[in-house]
């Protein structure tokens, strides 16, 4: 029931039956790491990390706290350097943050002195998006995230769930092709988390971004992902890769009720040593 091999997403399209002998060039993986190592002083944070995330694929990274998940995300985001191996985005070595990559951090990144609208449009302002396009993008995102009514509120007036939604809005405003998320719902209660999972699923199903989601919630990973990478600590490495073969489009009621959903959750729990 659980395959540990990567799913066979078609990378080339055979159009021979159209009489055109032509093979579409396989697009470079959106995110790729090969033999990646990272140390902090003498502490080995990541060892020999190998994975790829294909165009429009949703991949979650599960692992115990302190195993190097955030470190891995920071490397992919171009925020910190690495020692050896390679990290690439669309085939280009990662050296600095890129405009086509949006990042949602573990802590929400609202500036307390700005309104929700100003916070959401921050990235657009920093990257000098023209005012007209910016306003349209922000309006749309506030609407998608049901934050329109709170556009003029300040972050401390929002609930934790709304702040986290606004944080995602901060990343979405630039409409990045690639979205990196570091435990975006980690600080929320289970109910709010489930709701935001559904919202995230809806957004992803509409926009089909390439997503790398770091989480410590097994159910969240299974519900959202095409594939789940499981990490172990000391040193941080990827120990298991599970393809989540649940049909899409998924939705809250039916997907979570599928027997396979429970099987994936149980299996990943066993892999991570939390279930027996």
């Amino acid at each position: 029931m659980v395959s540990t091999a990567s799913a066979a997403a078609p990378q080339s399209v055979n159009v021979a039956d159209m009489g055109l002998k032509m093979t579409a060039e396989p697009a470079a993986n959106h995110i790729e790491a090969r033999g990646l190592n990272k140390t902090f002083g003498s502490f080995k944070a990541l060892e020999d990390i190998d994975f790829e995330i294909r165009n429009q694929e949703f991949v979650s990274v599960l692992g115990p706290s302190g195993c190097g998940k955030s470190t891995l995300l920071r490397i992919v985001a171009g925020l910190i350097p690495y020692e050896s191996g390679s990290a690439t985005i669309k085939g280009e070595a990662v050296r600095a943050p890129r405009p086509d990559v949006g990042v949602v951090f573990q802590t929400n990144n609202m500036l307390p002195w700005l309104t929700v609208r100003r916070n959401v449009e921050l990235g657009a302002r920093i990257r000098n998006m023209p005012a007209g396009a910016r306003d349209a993008a922000v309006d749309k995102i506030l609407d998608v995230l049901s934050l329109t009514k709170f556009a003029d509120a300040h972050p401390h007036q929002l609930s934790g769930g709304m702040r986290q939604r606004a944080s995602i809005g901060q990343a979405l405003v630039l409409d990045p092709q690639i979205l990196l998320m570091d435990e975006p719902f980690g600080a929320l209660d289970a109910l709010t988390r489930d709701k935001l999972n559904v919202e995230l699923l809806r957004i992803w199903q509409e926009s089909r971004k390439t997503v790398m989601l770091i989480t410590h919630s097994i159910a969240e990973a299974v519900f959202l992902s095409d594939r789940v990478l499981v990490m172990a600590d000391r040193p941080g490495k990827i120990v298991e890769e599970v393809t989540i073969d649940l049909p899409r489009p998924r939705n809250a009621a039916t997907t979570r009720a599928m027997p396979k959903f429970g099987e994936y959750v149980a299996y990943l729990g066993k892999v991570m040593g939390v279930a027996n």
Binding site: P97, F105, N109, L111, L122, G123, I126, R127, H156
Partner: protein, 254 residues
């Protein structure tokens, strides 16, 4: 409304307390026959202030100008130095320890030197106000910049924000609450500096008036000047408090 009536009660307590204090002063000195060059009755002080009102007003404006210019210069130089020390590791290693060491120097001991350097006039008092106000402002500004949340800095880096954008959009607003706290401390200190300067050697100002009053045993006038100085200080402090209101995000963590 219990809120209003309890606040009214609090105000009336304050008024009653001050009223009782002033009455005690007025009739206490008479009853105990305190010599008026030691402590004049409050009514005599009021009369002395009224009679010397134009002189007191003129000297008040002079001292106020010293305080405001000294304070303003301390803000400008303090913020600039705070910024330089924050962005430059070299300045952090060299200038910052120097500033910290100088902070412990008793500034009043510098008053005679300021007079030697800048003369008996306006400039030496501005320098004194500056010296007193400067250190709390540098330290607070630096603390404000250094206290910029690390996760927000990383967020700005992830957006490829340039140094200027990061400064104006993130560091400056982050540092403002701390900076205002520094101003709160520095404003009364600037007044103290200016007055000490005037007491040590001056031709004009409220401190000078105090010296003249003391020399001619006009204790009523001396007390009048002290009260006026206190009132000006209070007004300046209230001004800072008012400005602090616009930096409402102090202590708010989201």
């Amino acid at each position: 409304m219990p809120g209003v009536s309890s606040r009214l009660a609090a105000y009336s307590q304050v008024v009653l307390f001050f009223g009782a204090f002033l009455l005690f002063w007025e009739y206490g000195v008479r009853y105990f026959e305190v010599k008026s060059y030691i402590l004049p009755p409050i009514s005599a002080i009021a009369v002395a202030v009224w009679e010397a009102r134009s002189e007191i007003f003129e000297n008040s404006m002079y001292t106020l100008a010293e305080v405001l210019i000294g304070f303003g210069a301390a803000v400008v130089v303090g913020v600039m130095l705070g910024m330089v020390v924050y962005v430059s590791p070299f300045a952090q290693r060299t200038i910052y320890p120097l500033v910290t060491a100088l902070q412990t120097t008793p500034k009043s001991a510098l008053a005679p030197l300021m007079i030697v350097w800048f003369g008996y006039g306006f400039i030496s008092k501005v320098a004194m106000a500056f010296l007193f106000a400067f250190f709390p402002i540098v330290v607070a500004t630096l603390g404000g910049f250094a206290g910029t949340a690390k996760n927000l800095e990383e967020h700005f880096r992830a957006l490829n924000a340039g140094p200027w954008r990061t400064f104006t959009t993130l560091r400056l607003p982050s540092a403002l609450p701390s900076f205002i706290d520094g101003c709160r401390v520095a404003m009364p200190l600037a007044m103290i500096g200016a007055i000490i300067g005037e007491l040590v050697g001056s031709e004009r100002g409220l401190g000078n008036l105090i010296m003249l009053g003391t020399a001619s045993t006009r204790t009523d006038l001396v007390f009048g000047c002290i009260i006026v100085i206190t009132l000006i200080s209070l007004a300046l402090y209230a001004l800072i408090e008012f400005a602090a209101k616009s930096v409402w995000w102090r202590g708010i963590q989201v």
